[in-house]
Symmetry: C2
Subunit: 552 residues, 2 copies
Amino acid sequence: MSTGAQALLRTLLDAGVDTCFTNPGTSEMHFVAALDGAPDMRAVLTLFEGVATGAADGYARMAGKPAATLLHLGCGLGNGLANLHNARKGKTPVVNIVGDHATTHARYDAPLQSDIETVARNVSTWVRTAQSAETLSRDAAEAVAAAVGPPGSVATLIVPADVSWNTGAQPCQSLPLAAAPPADGKAIEAAAGALRQRGKAAILLGGRALREPALMAAARIAAATGAKLLAEVFPARMERGAGLPAPERIAYLAELASVQLAGLDCLLLVDAKAPVSFFAYPGKKSYLAPKGCRVIELVSPAQDAAGTLDQLASLLDAPGAPGKLLQPPAQPDLPEGRLTADKVCQAIGALLPENAIISDEAQTSGVTLPAFTAGAPRHDLLTLTGGAIGQGLPVAIGAALACPQRKVFALAGDGSAMYTIQALWTMARERLDIIVIVFNNRAYAILNMELERTGSGQPGPAARAQMDLANPAIDFVALGQGMGVRSARAETCDQFIQALQDAIDSPGPHLIETVVPNAFTGFKLKALPHALDALKILPGPLARAIKRKIAP
Amino acid sequence: MSTGAQALLRTLLDAGVDTCFTNPGTSEMHFVAALDGAPDMRAVLTLFEGVATGAADGYARMAGKPAATLLHLGCGLGNGLANLHNARKGKTPVVNIVGDHATTHARYDAPLQSDIETVARNVSTWVRTAQSAETLSRDAAEAVAAAVGPPGSVATLIVPADVSWNTGAQPCQSLPLAAAPPADGKAIEAAAGALRQRGKAAILLGGRALREPALMAAARIAAATGAKLLAEVFPARMERGAGLPAPERIAYLAELASVQLAGLDCLLLVDAKAPVSFFAYPGKKSYLAPKGCRVIELVSPAQDAAGTLDQLASLLDAPGAPGKLLQPPAQPDLPEGRLTADKVCQAIGALLPENAIISDEAQTSGVTLPAFTAGAPRHDLLTLTGGAIGQGLPVAIGAALACPQRKVFALAGDGSAMYTIQALWTMARERLDIIVIVFNNRAYAILNMELERTGSGQPGPAARAQMDLANPAIDFVALGQGMGVRSARAETCDQFIQALQDAIDSPGPHLIETVVPNAFTGFKLKALPHALDALKILPGPLARAIKRKIAP
């Protein structure tokens, strides 16, 4: 006779959910106890719930199936909320198992009592509180199916302690999963008509349209029609590098994105939203497609991007291969001299091994990374889908567990790394092949820039102090070593190159703290084109395209 | 002509809110820019929102007035949720200022868009999204009044970016604050009647009833009637030590609490709830007052505990002073030899300076702290009001800012310290007089105990791994130094005593990592009375009372 928790674990495993990122408490002790009877479940302990939820997100992006989390009541779920927000925005499937007080205990309003469903609803498309051990397994099977979608989403199953510990439970078979259908024929015909018209057209690819099959079909369409290929600002997972089509990613800065989109007559959305500014700014527009540009949603996130694009390519008599639209191999030279954020990106581009995964949360310091890695060996890029920082290191954990044969690079700013710095401990504990690269510019550098963009005026010492992380400077080597990760500091290009090569050559987690200047001190918008002119040193058609746009 | 943000800051200052714990983003840049025009506002930067909200909680517990937080949209608020839960449960006033997208931008569902009000409602009694710069100041004045109560609570004001940056705003005068009334005369008479009856009575003190005025009145009542004085399990702030009445705190373990409450005929609640088990356990009761015990709520959290108890004392012709019910001075000897968690507590009891503040989140290792500090010089004890760990270090930050002349001790387990370890950086940045003592037993020790209590069976290696923090062991000295805090490790009593004395004697933050055995490995409930028999070495009437209860 199984307990609810035992049947729950068996049900998750039957549905293919075999990895669980945990931070349990008393209400989850029966789930924990049941782990010994479910050796196929890999339970990965984290020291903070934001690490668990971010890792589940990274895992699903790379594994193509959800992981579970195990969280302790409403407060544990709350701690995991920011990274669940990122998963929600990236349409990544996650199955949260959240323990709750026993059903008989809730009425006493004990200290940890809170309204879990309300917190869960903020990020979940599916929320349920299990009512009995007998029905718990069915709930779990439905949670997995809801998470898988399509589109992927966050499903949260709240499990009262007595539902876990009561007996009489049976595992539930996994439910049939729905396949994503292609867009309907009329929509595809309409898209073909739009692309055939005179005028400048672009196809904006997002979500699953940034994986190889859809990318190849889109590039064939581009070859046939001259349409430009764009990628959304923050893809959950983008397959890129030598041999793949290289859509131009819309810039984070609306000022640049407007340049990228200028002159378009038609914008076809494929698992992507119409481009909008990340934030609003006084007197600036939020919606970025130019006036008069026709915006057509061809493929929704619940539809099959690759299948639809294949049909569209056939309808357009597109060539069988995209030919010269494939990115040729090209890696930058190794940088020299004093280290800067750009040179860190350049060195990564020069040394990136085959089949790497990059989790990129270096929002300002990593700005030249896409260009420097454009012609690098093929790799996956995972970005900050929902804008809630503290995602980069946890996502790397999940990606490394999903793809144990691949090197994972986790790029973070000093500010962003600190939100979920506890991730380092789990990397060490699980001996994950992750290279954490922290750009320590001792500032919330992005805020230097945003302060100027919001027109808040010249900052005085009180305002500047809110962006200053130099007092005290954070010693990331100490933090890494304190959590069991081999760590090194680089202040010159030589030091960085050596540390990076060493990390690439030896297994297990590494941290490299790069001490770099804050490129955005005294940032001025009018200096932007000049600053981005640095891009002319970069290889590949993407760089040329960007250069044409920003320095016309 | 003021911007909304400028008027907001002025309104907060006029209402006495002059400390703000921040982690801003782009939507809060106009608030940040306005700081230079409001030099009386102390803006304390944190690296993680849970530090900001916990610090605001600790500040208000000691300052007796709220601090503000400055948080970035729904995800920033989400990161702060666990410590706001603790503030909510402790009835501590907090004013959250949460930035949001500009009102014109919300419709575009940009990446950071989320339903902030829903997240806020989970912890707040008052939630409002400001609609215009003109009305923002009035909103802020109402938020402060709502937070102050009585009872204290969390108020969340959501400020869209354009409401901050628009001009035409005027500061708003602070609103009159309601005074807490005493309980009505009939309720006081009924309580007097109950205490005069034959039978065993106790007065359970919580909330503001654990401050000196109410404690003294309660002790006079106890002296007159023989009623026993109890304190709630997790007080927000308890004034204690030599010269004050020493109510016996209800134990976290329901098994012990039941012993403490056994035989009671009447339980008078003063700003406290009827005792319940922290969690539910199979086959064990949640409600802990014994059968037949009359439970009377005399003072609600919205009422005046001290005034009511004074009236009750008069009605009972209580003596003017509690006499021998005051705790006599008594400090333990310094411990010797190998360090254990109990010896750490003993040394703290021996060396505690006058007028200290203790933020206690050492849930298992700190179990003997209350007894060892019972007769120490007068101090304030701040505990884990809502059970959401990760509170102890942030609360210490707020307490140190509220009381810059007092030494603050922050006690944490290795597990609990890691939830908001970023707090160390703010301690260093603000040069706060905080002594962080981490009990590093390399385990979630409380879960070893809870696994046994929940009857989940004998744990195997997979279950045990979920409580094991030894692989890798966390080096808290490295973490402290990495964030700029002077740090030392102690493995013997001598080392700990020397490090503690050094920390007491020199200003600024210190961290002492104590390497102690996990007292709860292989924990067995039946061994509890034996384990707690150690209490017989402790001084004071509290220890004698506890000993009588647990080893009858």
